[in-house]
């Protein structure tokens, strides 16, 4: 039952901070709440015994991406950007749309039944060792090709970020 409590705790934390991210006025708060969400999700990974992912997640998201966000927010000096927020009816509709989507998704999941369910706590797949072997063996090509993606992103970021005349 302990894991359930952890699950509830992490979930509520994640959801709460996600909602807070949306409602907070200042972008910087949003970024911080999002970071909190990410940490909660990292907890979930741990709970799922996916340690490798948990670590990578913390490094990539909380460590890199959110820092980038923070930098940007500070760089652009966005204190209170929501000067003219969307009208309330848009928000209501958006909320309703989100709820509808949720309902749809719940409907989709309703009949789901996993075949040969395993207890996540007992599996070893989430460990670095097993994942590393698979990654460099079965998923070698995508792994290599993701370098192309990174290269593109790098060149692109430079291309867009550079200040010069065309």
């Amino acid at each position: 039952m302990f894991s359930h409590y952890i699950f509830y705790f992490l979930s509520i934390m994640a959801l709460f901070s996600a909602v807070m991210m949306l409602v907070s006025k200042k972008p910087i708060h949003s970024v911080l709440f999002l970071t909190l969400t990410f940490f909660a999700i990292a907890g979930h990974y741990v709970l799922l015994n996916a340690q490798f992912l948990a670590v990578v997640h913390v490094i990539v998201y909380a460590g890199a991406i959110m820092v980038l966000f923070l930098f940007t927010v500070m760089l652009l000096n966005l204190n209170n950007d929501e000067r003219s927020p969307k009208p309330i009816w848009v928000k209501v509709i958006a909320f309703l749309a989100g709820c509808m989507l949720l309902l749809t998704l719940i409907g989709v999941f309703r009949g789901y039944d996993i075949q040969s369910a395993h207890d996540p706590m007992t599996t070893q797949i989430g460990l670095v060792k097993s994942l590393g072997r698979i990654l460099y063996h079965d998923y070698l090509i995508p792994f290599e090709l993701s370098s192309v993606l990174f290269l593109t992103a790098m060149v692109g970021a430079v291309l867009l970020g550079k200040k010069e005349q065309i």
């Binding site: 309703r110 789901y112 090509i141 993701s146 593109t152 692109g156 005349q165």
Partner: protein, 458 residues
């Protein structure tokens, strides 16, 4: 595999050339490299290999469409010299990103695993986000890239969700295994799987610009630098539709009935909306955007019809569409250069001042309309045949109606060029460019007259 490697190497080479400040070498190297990789691709013909546990599948379909993609890129790069004529800044980064985008596109044609599909899509998309914004001073370019990026990443979220759901219900990303799962379902599919399937379709539909996920297309096309719009309209579209098609051929052959209606409706709406909205557009670029939307609808016909013929139909269609569209963009580049805009009024009387260019554009437009004996007609004909053999009578009627409507806008440039009084501006065109345009025009005609090669291919 060799294709991807060779193109990647080419991209890296370009970046090195940029570092070495050999700007003049860029285009020749790119063109030569593309030719080489095209040759390498073609050498894979009939080998049917799969790499890395079915991660990458090289079969004739992938070879054929990869060739189309590389060829289209080649044609687009041939326009680059004219397009960037006055530009002083180094262009290696733009070219490099374009080539990496091509890698992504090629991945999308030959994936055997959803991971590869996802990586391909993202490589392509990220490259395109960059390319769309590559004209940094132009606010339209900025807007284009922002819109494309926001919508693109939003929709890739759904695509991912779809992949996750498929994974959740089938337990694998491998197309082969997924198809085994489909076969084991024997008619009743878990809703989660279906939801995943549809979200995947939606994600791809966004890239192809299919109603109602087409909204980005006109705005982004208009804002993006023209050369890159050509890339978007041809390479990206081809790659995405092939990805979708491959997905269906490999995996979901058995559940044709499930997605048929949806694709059917989307195709019909795309054709109608693309053509109807195109009617009122006052400028060529935006018109071409709507034209490309409507052509996505036609391409979907091949997917809906889904028979052994569809491969060929799609191949023929993408080739003829790509060449004609690139020709049109080639002229568009010239008009933009001379007039600073691309309104139809700028093209008035072009037939007198630039008869060759006017002729090329006319052929391109007629081909897109689907007038025999041009390539566009053969493609459309083949497509309709495929569809009618499957009994998609109403869809063909919609397509026909759409074609009829399309005459209205495809004839606008023709009318302007041939029937209006000249503006007095002469387009300055260099000879290689002219030859290139003429080459593409001849291709359009020749494919129309002698399509055996392409039709018997797959």
């Amino acid at each position: 595999m060799t294709t991807i490697i060779s193109i990647t190497v080419l991209g890296v080479l370009i970046l090195f050339l940029g570092i070495l400040k050999k700007q003049k070498w860029l285009l020749p190297v790119i063109l030569a490299g593309l030719v080489v990789s095209m040759a390498l691709t073609i050498m894979d013909w009939n080998t049917f290999r799969s790499y890395n546990n079915g991660m990458l599948i090289v079969d004739n379909v992938s070879v054929a469409f990869s060739t189309v993609l590389i060829f289209s890129t080649f044609l687009i790069f041939s326009l680059a010299a004219q397009y960037y004529r006055g530009v002083q800044r180094p262009l290696d980064d733009i070219y490099g990103v374009m080539i990496f985008a091509l890698v992504g596109a090629v991945m999308m044609t030959s994936y055997g695993n959803l991971i590869m599909l996802f990586l391909g899509i993202e490589t392509l998309s990220i490259a395109l986000y960059v390319l769309a914004g590559s004209h940094k001073e132009a606010i339209t370019s900025n807007e284009a890239t922002l819109k494309y990026f926001l919508l693109g990443s939003f929709l890739s979220g759904f695509l991912l969700f779809g992949i996750a759901l498929i994974y959740g219900s089938t337990g694998s990303f491998d197309l082969q295994k997924i198809s085994l799962f489909v076969a084991s379902c024997s008619g009743t599919y878990p809703p989660m799987f279906l939801a995943g399937l549809f979200l995947l379709i939606i994600g791809l539909a966004f890239k192809i610009a299919i109603v109602p996920f087409h909204f980005w297309a006109p705005d982004v096309y208009e804002g993006t630098p023209t050369l890159l719009t050509a890339f978007m309209a041809t390479v990206v579209k081809t790659a995405s539709i092939v990805a979708m098609f491959r997905f269906f051929t490999h995996t979901f052959l058995g559940i044709h009935g499930v997605w048929e209606t949806t694709i059917w409706v989307m195709a019909a709406f795309t054709i109608l909306l693309g053509n109807l909205t195109g009617v009122y557009q006052p400028n060529l670029k935006r018109m071409l955007a709507y034209s490309s939307i409507s052509h996505s609808g036609y391409m979907l016909l091949a997917v809906v019809a889904f028979s052994p013929m569809s491969n060929n139909a799609l191949l023929l269609y993408t080739i003829s569409y790509s060449i004609a569209t690139i020709t049109a963009f080639g002229i568009l580049i010239l008009i933009r250069e001379a007039h600073g805009n691309d309104f139809f009024t700028s093209m008035n009387g072009m037939a007198k001042s630039n008869p060759l260019e006017a002729f090329c554009l006319t052929v391109a437009m007629l081909s897109l309309t689907g007038i025999p004996p041009l390539a566009g007609f053969m493609a459309k004909y083949y497509l309709f045949t495929t569809a009618l053999e499957k009994g998609l009578v109403w869809l063909v009627i919609v397509a026909i109606t759409g074609s009829a409507v399309s005459v209205v806008y495809y004839f606008k440039p023709i009318v302007a060029m041939y029937l209006k009084d000249p503006t007095g501006v002469q387009l300055k065109v260099e000879t290689p460019y002219k030859i290139h345009l003429l080459f593409m025009t001849l291709m359009v005609i020749i494919i129309g007259i002698l399509p055996f090669f392409l039709i018997g291919l797959l």
